[in-house]
Point group: C2
């Protein structure tokens, strides 16, 4: 039994217990959350999300740059109108630099010269940096509510850092 | 009260009810899930995830290409060893083409010529395409378990499409 088999079994349990209200239609004017892939962030529980509540974008670090094409789709196609950028304490992205990872891959003969990983040194500063990245991106709607947070994995608490 | 204020209140409720076991440490050898940002996919409920169970990458469509840098980080830094690629029925990414979205942005004076959105026409085929993209990416570990699924938003059911 692999972790993927477990996922299939959990999904069977999910569908068995589904209520009609759990299967909403997509809607305009929703919240988007951009956060890290980290396994300690269970977005449904930590942020009180049920089906239909929010679009969720996740990548290593919860960085804005790799989320921009998806954010453009969400704003242009789905009319999303609020964004929460949520980085977190003890993030693996603070344990290396992009250049260190590229060097490590190069040692195995792998070329990642053109790849941006988005590693960073300071968690509060990375949230502010991504807020500035949002504000300087012409493709993104500037009139919507944008706020930046750090999720403290030690306590589960969301700490607000910056408002756009 | 905005949707982001609701999120903060939900987080306060979450921290109030947290048990020590809800705050695990990161671990090696975990599952990664790549799926769509769609608000009908509540990953915790639909896939039975608790804190500590899986790294989750989400973008518009659940496409592999924009997830590659994060996948490299997860494999190199965190030793993840299984991947589930999960697209879904009724996906917004089948309702336009990348070129149509670029044209629409250009009409507002916005230049997205170099931006890939990852729109696609056929949901089962997009899963197979992303499996091929995985298999042809030298930066990703080929010895791990990789499986592709479609999540049926009409029923909540996970349908397996392809095994890598």
């Amino acid at each position: 039994m692999s972790a993927i088999d477990d996922l299939i079994i959990a999904n069977e349990r999910y569908t068995a217990g589904l209520a009609p209200a759990d299967l909403p239609l997509p809607r305009r004017g929703s919240l988007v959350i951009v956060t890290c892939m980290d396994l300690r962030i269970e977005t449904g529980r930590a942020f009180g999300l049920r089906e239909g509540d929010a679009y969720v974008l996740r990548n290593a670090g919860g960085r804005l740059a790799p989320a921009i094409p998806s954010l453009v789709v969400s704003q242009e196609l789905l009319g999303t109108d609020a964004l929460a950028i949520i980085h977190h304490s003890d993030c693996g992205m603070t344990t290396f630099t992009d250049e260190e990872l590229r060097t490590r891959l190069r040692a195995r003969g792998l070329d990642a010269r053109r790849m941006e990983f988005g590693a960073f040194a300071d968690i509060d500063e990375s949230v502010r940096e991504d807020m500035r990245a949002y504000q300087s991106c012409a493709l993104l709607r500037q009139e919507i509510e944008v706020r930046g947070f750090v999720f403290e994995v030690e306590t589960g608490h969301l700490r607000e850092i910056v408002t756009g």
